[in-house]
Amino acid sequence: MSSLRFRSHPLSTAVAQRALLAGLPLPQGFEAALARSGLSPLHATGIEILQMNLGKKCNQTCRHCHVDAGPDRREVMPDEVLEACMNVLESTAIPTVDITGGAPELHPRFRDIVVRAHEMGRHIIDRCNLTILMVAAYEDLGEFLAAHQVEIVASLPAPNGRQTDAQRGDGVFERSIAALRRLNALGYGTRPGLQLNLVTNPVGAFLPANQPALETAWKLELQRRYEVEFNHLYTITNMPISRYLEYLVDSGNFEAYMERLVQAYNPAAAAGVMCRNTLSVGWDGTLYDCDFNQMLEMPVNHGAPRRIFDFDVAKLDTRQIEVGTHCFGCTAGAGSSCGGATVS
């Protein structure tokens, strides 16, 4: 499979995706749902996480990808944007830097970012697809991440090959298990200070399972079958954006899935959405409330500066959040975020 962009697919532009989402008749709109919950307008509560999207280049082309990332993408964060991000970290007390993509490790200055953030004493998260660790030029990446106490949040949709490969590509499960074993050998998931967390997206058009129950089941299963250990499992709801939106439309699940998300709206989940404590930086330096708004090209709004070069913590840390129909994905059931369920 190639990216929507490469195929010039009708849904390859954010404009087309936003139009499709806006045109769907639903029992209630997201702003109305927030208002009924006493949360409108939604505001940030502070910037605890600076999430840097280093670009759309990836060594995989996952079916559900909201970034539309892949080997055929060329967007990579330029130096001036990267330096602006480092300046923001140096001039603020933002405790966590969350590095994502695509495959962020493919960025030529990925290690430089990690080294500098580590020297600043920040907590670093690497959103890792696992197979990158098995690519020849990146085989020492595990050691590098361990040396800098980077928290690895690794994608694994299921503890079996059939579902994992269906979502992420042929052979991905086998390479992922090999990567996990390599990380365990370095101390990840087994020694204090080397956090290895897994993130699972449902392999299809349904909501994630109960996070703690799934974590218990997966720990048993991965230990028993593959002798793999990890710290925590995060469940993430698939968002109706880019390739997952294509999947929903092509499989005839689009309307039913969106209705399911709306039906499962949970005010407690809405109160804990990640956009309230996260600021997302696009590869080109544009600022967003979250990675999903980034892919729908919905920058921060309501008077907040739109570029990293104009960063102003006073105008950003309690900014009004830009919302849309896709936000029902983060507020369904137990909620969803880059850190998993938002309601315990």
Binding site: N160, R162, Q163, P202, G204, F206, L207, A209, N210, A213
Partner: protein, 111 residues
């Protein structure tokens, strides 16, 4: 009205059964929710049992609802297929074991 006895959209109208007997419906809902809450069995185990029973009684509404529910409780096609086989084995076994009654009759009637 549909040309078919079953219409997939009718599953979403289940709550209409409460219109003429609201008190009974509320009691049913309360009991149903309690049945499927985690207890000695996990929610996933109960959902798989429900899926098996749905196939045993051949209820298309339950098969629809519990196929989705099993997935949302963290199950997968492999586990769910085994659950259907359990239902089939019990149904088939129930027929087969009644064959002992057939044998009783044959013995009584035969020289």
């Amino acid at each position: 009205m549909s040309d078919h006895y079953y219409d997939a959209k009718d599953l979403g109208r289940f709550a209409e059964m409460g219109e003429e007997a609201p008190e009974l419906w509320q009691k049913f809902l309360a009991w149903y929710s309690a049945v499927f809450a985690a207890g000695a069995l996990t929610e996933r185990e109960k959902s798989l049992i429900a899926l098996g029973v749905a196939h045993a009684v051949q209820c298309p509404y339950c098969i629809d609802a519990y196929s989705r529910d099993c997935l949302e409780k963290g199950s997968n096609a492999e586990q769910m297929t085994e659950a259907v086989h359990v239902a089939a084995a019990i149904r088939g076994g129930a027929s087969l074991v009644h064959g002992v009654q057939m044998r009783n009759h044959v013995h009584k009637l035969s020289m």
